[in-house]
Each structure stands twice: as structure tokens, then as C-alpha cells.
């Protein structure tokens, strides 16, 4: 049983380890390789639907990975590489859109919705708790409120 659980955990973890898509490692230094993978994971493959260039073998993704690698070797910082991509492909190339005037609604929406839901729930609970105790008896069975 223990073995089975161990195997299960191992398999469950497998997809998260993320096999590198390149045939070979781009860098021998693991620190550089992980920086390379991190940069790739933040860049959208523009010809795929909702994939990063780390996930795709589309030829454009291969080219962009090559560009990332080359710029890293040239000593560019992460920010310089990102800015380079954004200057050419726009903010769409970033897998995580930045918070700015255009996207603030997108980023704020979940919080607004949760807060709105809480307010509605609160108002319903308040109203119900103000009802006279005997009121429930008058509600027909199965009816809501």
C-alpha cells in the first residue's frame, strides 16, 4: 500500500516537473537553464492559443526561445529581454498581463465579484435574521424565502 501511495504521488508530481521542450538543455549551468525556462514560461506563443513559448514547438516559439537564449548570453537582464519582446509584439506577448489602465478591470474583477457576493449574502442574512421567528412556518415547503 505504501508503495502504491509513493508511486501515485510520484506520478501526480510528474506533470509539474515540466519536461523542457528543447531537445537539449539550452544552458549547462542549471541556474541559467532555470532562468531561461522562467523567461520562456512568461512569454506567450503568439500563434498558439494560450500556450507559452516554453510549451510549444511552433516555429515562431522556437525562434523566440532562440532569441531569449541569445539575449541571455549577451548579458541582457530579464527586464531588457521582456521589454524587447513587448516592444515588438505588444503586451499580448506577456503571459501575465501587467496591471495598467487597460487591464485594471481584468485584475480587479475577481475581488469586486467576491466583495459584491459577500455584500449580497450579508444583506440576505441580515434581512432574514430580522424576520419574526414564527415567519418560517408560513413559507410553503420547498419554496425559497
Amino acid at each position: 500500500m505504501k508503495r502504491f501511495i509513493a508511486l501515485f504521488l510520484l506520478l501526480a508530481y510528474l506533470p509539474a516537473t515540466g519536461w523542457a521542450i528543447d531537445q537539449q538543455l539550452a544552458f549547462e549551468d542549471p541556474a541559467w537553464q532555470s532562468r531561461y525556462e522562467e523567461l520562456n514560461a512568461g512569454l506567450r506563443c503568439l500563434v498558439c492559443q494560450n500556450q507559452t513559448i516554453a510549451d510549444s514547438n511552433a516555429s515562431l516559439a522556437v525562434d523566440l526561445r532562440g532569441q531569449v537564449k541569445e539575449m541571455m548570453i549577451a548579458g541582457k537582464t530579464d527586464k531588457e529581454i521582456l521589454d524587447y519582446m513587448v516592444a515588438r509584439y505588444g503586451n499580448f506577448v506577456r503571459f501575465q498581463p501587467p496591471v495598467n489602465n487597460e487591464t485594471i478591470f481584468l485584475w480587479a474583477a475577481p475581488a469586486v465579484m467576491v466583495l459584491g457576493g459577500l455584500l449580497i449574502a450579508l444583506s440576505i442574512v441580515r434581512r432574514r435574521s430580522n424576520l419574526p421567528v414564527g415567519d418560517e412556518d408560513e413559507t410553503p415547503v420547498g419554496g425559497d424565502a
Binding site: 503568439l46 515588438r88 509584439y89 503586451n91
Partner: protein, 175 residues
């Protein structure tokens, strides 16, 4: 009364958003390069590999840079329109043969006709600098070397007549 009106109103708003979304093309991505100088490049000419042509060589004239490849199916559809544009003499078209085999590209131009004033061979670097993500894409560049328009996907005769040609005329009039 409100109890029904509010959800109905919310539902109507939702439907409006979905309806707007239906009309959007997920492949249309605005180019941040409009209004910016066209990226500089120096690329070999197809068929004359020793001759290099640079973006700056076209300073002072309005040009249409067309990114294509013989592997690109939509480019075949666009090719007839490009031939028509070339025949009209409205604007010189610079071909950027993208990620292609030279022999295939030469064959293509021989058998289908050549609309390009010059065809340059790009392995991918120039296309990245132009923010290209799929062929065909076309960039209209003014006399100062500024990108004034980007057309994603094949240019249709309607798009040429209604969108691009008026911009070409205007750009040619400007000094």
C-alpha cells in the same frame, strides 16, 4: 419587481459582452510598432546572395513590406492581389521571404509571377524585429521609414482599395 429586474439587467449586460466577444478576432493583435520606425535590417537578396539590402535603402519612398513564404498557404491566395498592386504601380512591394528554402521561393515566383521589387531572405531575425507572428503580414512604411499600417493575414483586393491604397496616396503626398 426589483428582484426580477436586477438579474435580468445583469443577464442583458452579460449577453452584450458575449455578443461583442463573438465579433472579435482572437488573431488580430494590435501592433505596438505603428508610428514607430521600421526595424533596421540588412538582408541578402533572393537569388543574389552576395547583394545585401537594408531598410534604410528605402528612405525617401513609400514601400509595402510583405512577409511571405512558399510554405504559406494563405500567401498563395494573396499573391494575385500583390500582382495586381504591383501592376498598378502604386507602391513598390518588398518581399520578406520568411523561413523558406531559396529554391522553393524562386520556383514560386517563377510559376506564379513576381510582384516584388526586391525579395529578401530572412531566417527569422528580421521578422521577430517586425513583431511578425504569422505569414502573410504586410507593413506600410512611409518616406521617413515609419510604419504607418500593418495588415495581418492575406491582403484582399477590397482591403487594398479601401484601407491601404488611401494611406499609400496620403503617404506619397507627404514630404
Amino acid at each position: 419587481m426589483w428582484r426580477f429586474l436586477i438579474p435580468m439587467a445583469l443577464f442583458a449586460i452579460l449577453v452584450w459582452f458575449f455578443n461583442q466577444g463573438l465579433g472579435l478576432d482572437p488573431r488580430k493583435i494590435p501592433s505596438p510598432l505603428i508610428g514607430k520606425p521600421a526595424p533596421e535590417f540588412s538582408l541578402p537578396v533572393l537569388g543574389e546572395k552576395d547583394r545585401m539590402v537594408a531598410m534604410s535603402d528605402f528612405r525617401g519612398q513609400v514601400v509595402l513590406v510583405n512577409v511571405w513564404g512558399s510554405w504559406c498557404v494563405a500567401c498563395r491566395e494573396e499573391h494575385q492581389v500583390l500582382l495586381g498592386i504591383a501592376a498598378s504601380g502604386a507602391v513598390p512591394i518588398i518581399g520578406l521571404d520568411w523561413k523558406d528554402q531559396d529554391a522553393d521561393a524562386e520556383n514560386w515566383l517563377r510559376s506564379l509571377g513576381n510582384p516584388y521589387t526586391v525579395t529578401l531572405v530572412d531566417e527569422g531575425r528580421a521578422a521577430i524585429n517586425f513583431g511578425v507572428y504569422g505569414a502573410p503580414e504586410s507593413f506600410l512604411i512611409d518616406k521617413q521609414g515609419i510604419i504607418i499600417h500593418k495588415h495581418t493575414g492575406p491582403i484582399t483586393w477590397e482591403a487594398w482599395q479601401q484601407e491601404i491604397l488611401p494611406m499609400v496616396v496620403k503617404a506619397k503626398e507627404a514630404t
